[in-house]
């Protein structure tokens, strides 16, 4: 529903915020995005994993293979210090951006 460019621009912010304070694996992240946005945003594997790998290469998230009892081996991701800083930056930018757009788009109450 939303243009690919918009989704691409916000993908990092979405993923980083979901990893705040918790480790998650790839499918879990995708599922949460879909559920919490009420189905409005969805990321397929094709779109999700390139972003995950890119952020991992930058050092914002760290992936580890974990084997839990009763489950098969999975790759979990957690936020690094750099990632937390990046998340804060992106949140701030996002707020400013939406504020700016709203100021222009909403009729002003003089």
């Amino acid at each position: 529903m939303f243009s690919p460019t918009l989704k691409k621009g916000s993908a990092e912010l979405l993923i980083l915020s979901l990893l705040e304070g918790r480790e998650r694996h790839g499918y879990e992240v995708a599922k949460l995005i879909r559920e919490r946005s009420g189905g409005r945003l969805s990321f397929q594997a094709s779109s999700l994993y390139p972003v995950l790998f890119r952020m991992e290469k930058r050092g914002w998230i760290k992936g580890m293979w974990v084997e839990r009892d009763g489950e098969r081996r999975r790759r979990f991701y957690r936020l690094t210090d750099k990632g937390e800083a990046a998340l804060a930056r992106q949140r701030a930018t996002w707020r400013e951006f939406t504020l700016a757009v709203n100021l222009v788009v909403e009729p002003s109450h003089a």
């Binding site: 499918y27 397929q44 094709s46 972003v51």
Partner: protein, 924 residues
Amino acid sequence: MPDWKKMVEENLPTGRFRGELAADIQAEIADHLEDAYQEALRLGATEEEAVERALAEVDDWEALAERIARSRRDATEGWAAMEVETSEVALRRRGGPWNAAADVLQELRFTLRRLGKAPVFTAAVLLSLGLGIGANTAIYSVVKGVLLDPLPYPDPDRLVAVWNSAPGAGQDLVRQSFALNAVYEDDARAFESVGIWGPSFSTLDGPDGPEQVPAVQVTHGLFPVLGVQPVIGRGFTFEDTQTGSPRTVILSWDTWTRRHGGDPAVIGRTVVLGEIPREVIGVMPEGFRVMDQPAEYYHPFRYTKAELTLTQFTLRSIARLREGVTPGQALAEMEGLLPVAAERYPGGVDLKTLREMGAAPVLHPLKADLVGNVGEVLWVVLAGVAIILLIACANVANLLLVQSESHERAVAIQSALGSSRRRLVLRFLTESVTLGGLGGAVGVGLAVGGLALLRSLGPADLPRLQDIDLDAGVLLLAVLLSLGSGLALGLLPLARAWRLDLCAALKEGGQGTGTGRSRGMVRNAFAVVQLALAMILLVGSGLMIRTFVSLSQVSPGYSDPERLLTFTATDVTTQDDADVPEAHRALAERLARLPGVEAVGLTTTVPMGTGAGFDPIYVEDFPLPEGQQGPIKRFKWIGGGYHEAIGNPVVAGRAITWDDVRELARVVMITEGFAREVWGDPARAVGRRISTGFGPGNWREIVGVVGDVRDDGLDQDPVDIVYWPMAIRDYWPEISDRDALFVQRSMTYVVRSGRTGTPGFLEEVRREVLASFPGRPLVGVRTMASLERDSLARTSFTLVMLAIAAAMALVLGIVGIYGVISYAVGRRTREMGLRMAMGAEPGRVTRMVLRQGLCVALVGVASGMVGALGATRLMRAVLFGVSPADPLTYGATATVIVGVALLATWVPARRAARVDPNEALRAQ
């Protein structure tokens, strides 16, 4: 339950990722699909629906792999990309014309990214352009430094070389005499200054004994001609040149800094050169040279002006024309001064003889004299590298066309989405100009390296080698070439994209649209052009090889040059002139007794050496009309056994012996050409008489005739030579006493030995010489082989340059034809498959491809031959013993090119035959 792991392994291309990484990625994606499948089932889907749901997670496996690979790269490049992005954003914010700049920056970013993703393509293009631009830059800087740049003196256009001609005596070009120079100094108003210079040696006392260093002798007017004065001290005055005045010397800058520590107090100091103390009066500026001549010291010529005679026309003279005076005006004045010279300095050539010889002054622009005819060679080489650049551009054009086709779909999409024509132009031009610029940078790097190599090799025949530099003018050329080729090359894919059929491009997924036929023909045309150009260069090299072979087969007047050691030794110690020949003979005998020495001979100059004398010759059997001067022949003075040592067999009669020298016999020898010219048969010349002098008389007997000698170089005609014994009584009675002895104190020794060039041999020789002539070092130690190599230097230089160019051209051409054929095969994979599916044997398919390659090669060779016939005409000046249209060379070259082209076609041909018909039919 589907095996997701296996499914991912089969579909996700992981070639880009190393072992463990690939396994990890596959495992993670498989997990994801598994989770999606399980969830779908949990939500109530059927097995099929669940599988569908999972498969929908990945739409395009290829794209996914690509994106993962890219994301790993982009992560590290993120910093650079962000930088560029911000400046683009900043530019766009300014609006207006800055948008265009932002567009350019963006295209640049895309271009760099595209180039980075296709490293083989980029490397091939940069290498091709680099070779082409680099070669042109290097050779142009040589041409510029040697031929185009003015001489490094103030107002160089006013500098002329002063010669004379005497056509009546068979001499086109004769050097200058002190007497005539003195007349010009005093009376020629056309000259601001005029002078004489000559290369020379200085002998220093070194730690290992006497050491000889290069020096230059000048008259007092020489430095003013060049317009250069010493930076400290003073130049030479007239007094410094007159015999009896205190001895003076001027240092070169290098000598001053190296040997005297750059101390300004050196002025007034005394240095001992050649055992004579001299006062240092000045130091020349850094980098100064007289006509390219290296020198550590500058000495004045010394003579007594009042006693000069109009003789010895053996000196180099240069002059500076007064402002506003043309060479023609100067010549007119100089002609009028000739009779003045004859009158003022009697005892030499008189007025009558001047008139008979048709003596006249000659002026050359000084640069022309210095550069000589190396220009012919250089222009040929420059043409060669220009051809290389054309070939390189053809190659790159080909590569760009290939690339543009594979990007057809992307371009079509871009256009369909509304990208303007302007944007298309920007895209293609940015790409090709970037390639041009980068190629130019590679080229300049190659040129710098190449020039350094050239300077270190220092081909002996290349004048002004020190003036070659990669200066602003040359760099400008490199920039122009880069931009020019960049722009030109960008036009090709642009032209194609302009006329692109969008619908067809979008539909067919990039496998080919429009007129494949015309595209193929353009391709083939490029390959043909490249092969034709390679053919031209190869023919040029082949002709040079033939030239070289011809030169090595001429009979030069000596044999086994590697066994011939030569050096000049001077007897300064023997008091009486009459005893000098014996001193030399004794040394020759001692040298002959050294182990390994086969023969020893003496002469004043060896073949292709410098400093032979020349004077008129009169033949008793064929008297000339009264008062007419005889033809000028070259003179050499020899000791006994010379011709045996140098390996020039006696054709008739006998050789001059040491007995002849000791007895002052009135004998001479002549060369075969001279004998045939006058008497028809060399044998008939033996016993006849000739003489030299101002007129006939004073006869001496010809005792022997030797083979012709190519004294001016292997590629020049043989010269008529008269050999005199090294001691002569009654030589020129018109000038000296009848009893006076004409004796040579400096003789060039020729030692024939198998040990020449081996370590230790020269030391033994040196010891013997120093024992006989103490305090005087050997001078001019060389082998005949190295003299010969110098004489051939111009030819070998041309050959090496052309051969390098031809090799580059051939490599580029072969790459071109390989690219053409292999691409054509790739496009016709379907067709091949069909044919083989319908029963054609692989052999037939191979032959079909080979035929196509052969066709291209033959057309290329044919056009190349036509081109070569025209181009090699320009090479006439450097060829020897072979015609520019030599059939052997053309035939051999054509065979080589066709052979190599077939070889280049073989690989794609084999590949075509191995195409699996099923796969070919399936592929789309």
